[in-house]
Symmetry: C2
Subunit: 328 residues, 2 copies
């Protein structure tokens, strides 16, 4: 049996360390500037509770000194009262997550955990920002939050830099370290190699490992479960893959896969019928398309592909050359 010595669990077993993280409002917010209706967010909150999802990410804690409030929906900022407007005191087993970008967060606005319904502060960082990231993490940790470091665009990091980053994070107070394939550039074989590395540091320093995948090459779900099989515990998904560019691991495929009876696909199906069909019919565009394949393949940021889609271009071969040029 292949990989048997590297596997955690099998196709019919249950692993209690697994945590499903719904990042729909946060990553999907990058598609619609965080302009979700309260009904959408409230229904998603109740859906996640009913479906047994472990964490729901509401958005970013972006600094209002950097981003004008009028340009975005409220989930770009995730004010305490915005979240409480949906969850009250969150009298449920679902934990509340928000994301803080290194260099884009006003740390003075972060309440102590005792005054907040937020459970986990996830810090999004590039490898070269790790010292700043750790400063933020220690701040969040000291305020009482669970924390994660989400190392973005790991497909562009050198092995040496990544080792150093993982070593520094290992010695920090962070609880979870995420493998983030921001560009959707990684194949399952890459994911296994990187997961092994993350787990090595995770086991050394007693940190949980998470994965956040993008679907540029139609590999987000596969990469997520391949990483999980090896021992990754925190699994990000978004409903119907709603997320930047090609989107993410579809939460419905993930819940369909997991064998723990606490997870229930049916509430999610009802949510998709009520909300996601409408988003699509109203003209919101996301999900796999050829330009995202190309930026993933060339291991670069999807911003040019997003612009290509917005302009309703279909000259894919020309875009291939543009992307190739940009990459070289």
């Amino acid at each position: 049996m292949i990989m048997s010595e590297n596997k955690k669990g099998n196709l019919i077993s249950v692993r209690d360390d697994l945590k499903v993280v719904d990042a729909t409002v946060r990553d999907g917010g990058l598609v619609n500037n965080f302009r979700f209706t309260d009904e959408f967010v409230k229904d998603l909150y109740e859906t996640n509770i009913a479906a047994g999802v472990d964490y729901m990410e509401f958005g970013y804690k972006a600094s209002k000194k950097i981003f004008p409030e009028e340009d975005f929906g409220k989930w770009k900022f995730c004010d305490e009262e915005s979240i409480r407007g949906i969850v009250g005191d969150n009298d449920s087993d679902l934990k509340i997550s928000v994301m803080a970008d290194v260099g884009r967060t006003d740390m003075d606005t972060i309440l102590p955990k005792s005054e907040s319904v937020v459970d986990i502060m996830r810090t999004a960082t590039y490898v070269y920002q790790i010292p700043s990231c750790i400063e933020m993490i220690e701040n969040f940790h000291n305020k009482g939050y669970e924390t994660s470091a989400n190392i973005m665009a790991v497909s562009t990091a050198s092995d040496g830099d990544l080792d150093q980053a993982l070593e520094l994070l290992g010695k920090s107070s962070v609880d979870v370290i995420y493998l983030v394939d921001s560009f959707g550039a990684l194949y399952p074989e890459d994911i296994r190699r990187l997961t092994a590395k993350y787990l090595e540091f995770g086991e050394k320093y007693n940190k949980k490992i998470g994965i956040h995948a993008h679907d540029n090459q139609q590999l987000a779900f596969a990469n997520t479960i391949e990483s999980m099989i090896m021992g990754t515990s925190y699994l990000d998904g978004t409903v119907r893959s709603l997320g930047r560019g090609a989107g993410n691991c579809a939460l419905e495929t993930l819940l369909g896969f997991l064998k723990n009876p606490k997870y229930d696909l049916v509430p999610l199906l009802n949510f998709i019928e009520k909300h996601m069909v409408k988003l699509h019919n109203d003209g919101l565009v996301w999900g796999y398309d050829v330009p995202y394949l190309l930026t993933g393949r060339f291991n670069c940021h999807p911003r040019t592909a997003i612009a290509f889609m917005k302009e309703k271009r279909t000259d894919y071969a020309k875009f291939f050359q543009e992307t190739y040029d940009q990459d070289n």
Copy 2:
């Protein structure tokens, strides 16, 4: 390094045994009753040559005694003159494939290879039809064709039956034995287990192994390359995943992945711009959607999901219950 002892090749090596099979007209024909324009098929033929694709499958050799000609486009039947109308004498390196279903083929109409431009006859069979399949294969083989046995719906076959089928095929004249995930039910872990089994028989009897995946759970590309890494040689894809239900491994993802410089993604991008955008805009519906996830998840034929999509239903939770009931 994980799986190192089981791997054939790595992410930057080239394997000369690899063959890319474009099954767009054949599997896509199941979506539009094989009603492709001659321009579409001719352009695809020229695209495949330019892209370095190894085989192009033109359709089925369906019996006109069973299927009324007026109900289908000509690629349901693949008359010799229909194919020659596109390829002439096929003065190219691209090989021509057609598929013959067990029990649905009029064997008297199969010309000797010396009178045909067809190179490979692929026989589609269920496990329980293997004796009939082998009879057809010996007929094709004696007529001078390369042959394959495509064992459909392998996700529903017992290990014992599959072992017997592979043993019988091993002793036959067949050249290639295919692992076919008709229902899109298999996870990469299943694919690795089954691929190991197929390769065991393939090595024992000197047969090549192929894979044909469906995208019900967004795993078609991942399953294809995971099987390939272990040693599978014949890789089916369809342009933009066009194929029954959720469709297939997208040919563009596959060509983007393969490192052999003979493969060129750019001609395929031009074809997608010219033809696939139009098919989509004209209202042809295919590709991943929630009902296909559910039939894949329940390991059953996608026909109920296809009907659901045709009726433009969106009551996914009800369909979940219907599929569950049907499955039990």
